[in-house]
């Protein structure tokens, strides 16, 4: 018997619990936006997010007022939390695009229920990431100089620099993700428009839906566009984190100048990104009763992806150590020794514990099936990936070639305030998204139903 999403092969959990119809799928998802009462939990959540965004606003205002000296950066560590957080956030964003684009091209139907909020997660993560390159500038009011525009000074950005490549890569990534997400939303906005009872709501969704009526001709062009965008987004997402890794790899700093960085960074991005997807999915599906759409199979698959990318990241750690020994470069060898036995050694060993050792628990099926342990493991991976970025940036900078230049890096309260503020901003955006937009792609869920099959005996 051929496998369908609701009747999978024996031994595999279904992608969508059987028993749904087109109507119930629509009702369930759209009612969260249209008819569900605003709960105290949601208000508390968005309130906390808003409060932390206020902290961000305060920290950024003080930063613009006083300059980057309020942070812990110094010489030799002139790149501190700003770059660490930038890379961490961009990495998290990658899972959304992978789920939306790459899993679509691979015809993995289980992506249909998680791609909408994963893509939203990407947008908010990239928005948080994009703040840091501007904030960390000595003269942030000149940030527009990063873009090539004709000017009276006859200057241009340095196109040979990875920092400028970053500008193009991240801007393109944000734009394409936004377009992809919005295009995916149009048919669902039409559903909300048609089901809204309040006139203001209907008008708002109607304007956004642009008059979508589900015409077969439109659907054909739409599907073509959707697939092409997915095909474009796939190399884009791989290139974006590669370009971010070039910020480091193109330099000559020991520990940075290594060709393992692009694949290692991309794998790490997917690792932390899926961890964030799971951290969001588990509470959302519990609170909104969506266990029949975001099923055990989704969590299991996400855990397996995390395990696989975690192993690639572990390989990256290993090969750095091996190549330092095998290559015989004294500076690289000292860099590895310093990571393991120097002032930041505790953090390095925490990194190995959090990112390599603990996630091996994902091999155990019982752990993958337990939402409690999976949630904790995902939080552990998020922390571990942050530590990885910290170790890469700070240990290589604080002790490089010349011992007389060595120094230490200590983050200040403003570093933490800015970082936690961006987390709050992200949380606030996610809560608003859940409230006002369908967090699961309604029309794609409809295609999973057996009634949607058209060929006889398919």
């Amino acid at each position: 018997m051929p496998e369908t999403p609701t009747h999978p092969l024996p031994g595999k959990a279904p992608v969508l619990e059987p028993g749904h119809t087109f109507g119930t799928v629509t009702d369930k998802i759209s009612s969260i936006v249209l008819t569900r009462r605003v709960s105290m939990g949601w208000l508390v959540g968005v309130g906390i997010g808003a409060a932390m965004s206020g902290v961000l606003l305060g920290a950024v205002s003080y930063l613009f007022l006083k300059g980057v000296g309020i942070w812990g950066i110094d010489i030799p560590v002139a790149w501190g939390f700003a770059i660490v957080n930038f890379v961490w956030w961009i990495g998290i964003g990658h899972a959304g695009t992978l789920i939306s684009a790459i899993l679509l091209l691979l015809k993995q139907e289980w992506r249909n229920s998680i791609n909408r909020f994963a893509e939203a997660m990407t947008l908010f993560a990239v928005a948080c990431a994009g703040m840091f390159p501007v904030l960390h500038l000595g003269r942030p009011w000149l940030a527009y100089w990063l873009f090539p525009y004709p000017n009276t000074m006859n200057y241009w950005p340095q196109f040979r620099s990875p920092l400028v490549w970053d500008v193009f890569a991240v801007s393109t990534y944000f734009t394409v993700s936004l377009l992809f997400w919005f295009i995916g939303l149009i048919p669902d906005l039409a559903t909300l428009r048609d089901r809204a009872t309040n006139r203001l709501t209907r008008t708002a969704y109607g304007i956004l839906a642009m008059g979508w009526r589900g015409s077969a001709r439109h659907w054909k062009r739409y599907e073509s566009t959707y697939l092409l965008l997915a095909g474009l987004a796939t190399p884009l997402v791989l290139s974006v984190h590669t370009v971010v890794s070039f910020d480091f790899a193109v330099s000559v700093v020991p520990g940075w100048h290594t060709t393992i960085f692009p694949p290692y960074f991309v794998a790490g991005a997917i690792y932390s990104g899926f961890a964030m997807v799971v951290v969001l999915a588990i509470p959302i599906r519990a609170v909104y009763g969506l266990e029949d759409m975001i099923t055990e199979r989704h969590l299991d698959n996400s855990a397996k992806v995390m395990l696989a990318t975690g192993l690639i990241v572990a390989y990256g750690y290993f090969i750095e150590i091996f190549m330092a020994w095998y290559g015989g470069n004294h500076f690289e060898q000292y860099m590895i020794f310093n990571r393991m036995r120097g002032p930041y050694a505790v953090l390095y060993w925490c990194l190995i514990l959090f990112n390599v050792v603990i996630p091996q628990l994902l091999w155990v099926k019982r752990i993958r099936k337990s939402t409690f342990w999976l949630f904790l493991l995902s939080l552990d991976i998020l922390v571990g990936m942050w530590l990885e970025r910290f170790i890469i940036v700070i240990t290589s900078l604080h002790r490089d070639y010349l011992p007389s230049s060595w120094g230490m890096y200590y983050p200040t309260a403003w570093d933490w305030a800015t970082y936690l503020g961006t987390i709050g901003f992200f949380v606030m955006c996610m809560f608003l998204f859940i409230r006002f937009l369908p967090m699961i792609s309604i029309f794609e869920m409809r295609t999973l139903l057996p009634e949607a099959e058209v060929e006889a005996g398919d």
Binding site: T21, T26, F168, T172, R221, Y222, S224, L229, V454
Partner: protein
């Protein structure tokens, strides 16, 4: 306009309508159905071509921008290294290609579909609200040369729909 309960019934009806000679018609569904556009006679879209043009424009302009800046407008001699350092231009060219292709894809698709189009006669039918939920519609337009009010209505009824409505406009 005829309303159906499921995609199979709609596709069958669309085939019959096409066989009967109707060309100016459209079908409305809550999710994309691959076979349906073929059934109503719509086979080819120009979206891929638009995307290709967008990508080429983006890539070529990205590369030319860098080339002009680095070689012609503000060349900087760094130890005699080649001014047209094209390997370092690859990344920005690639990103511009993707950006151009994506922008043209979205804007092109919207333009080809005629969106935004806030008003369309089919919205005047009350039950059409279900087209975005769980019902499937086939609409034969009055512009069709074979259209005749009575004949077409009887033809639609012969396809066993749930309901047949005339679309006011």
């Amino acid at each position: 306009m005829a309303e159906f309960d499921g995609p199979k019934e709609l596709i069958e009806a669309a085939h019959q309508a096409y066989a009967a000679g109707y060309r100016r018609m459209d079908a409305y569904t809550p999710f994309p159905i691959e076979e349906l556009s073929d059934a109503i006679g719509f086979h080819h879209t120009n979206v891929p071509l638009v995307v290709l043009i967008g990508g080429l424009l983006g890539g070529i302009s990205g590369f030319l921008m860098q080339y002009w800046v680095a070689v012609l407008n503000y060349p900087v001699n760094v130890a005699g290294k080649p001014l047209n350092s094209w390997p370092s231009f690859v990344v920005v060219t690639f990103e511009m290609t993707i950006l151009g292709a994506a922008l043209f894809a979205v804007l092109g698709m919207l333009a080809l579909n005629g969106l935004p189009m806030p008003y369309h006669p089919v919205f005047n039918v009350e039950r059409f609200a279900f087209a975005s939920k769980d019902r499937f519609f086939l609409c034969i337009e009055a512009r069709d040369p074979k259209f005749d009010r009575k004949v077409t209505e009887e033809f639609l009824r012969s396809l066993n729909p749930r309901e047949v409505t005339e679309v006011p406009h």
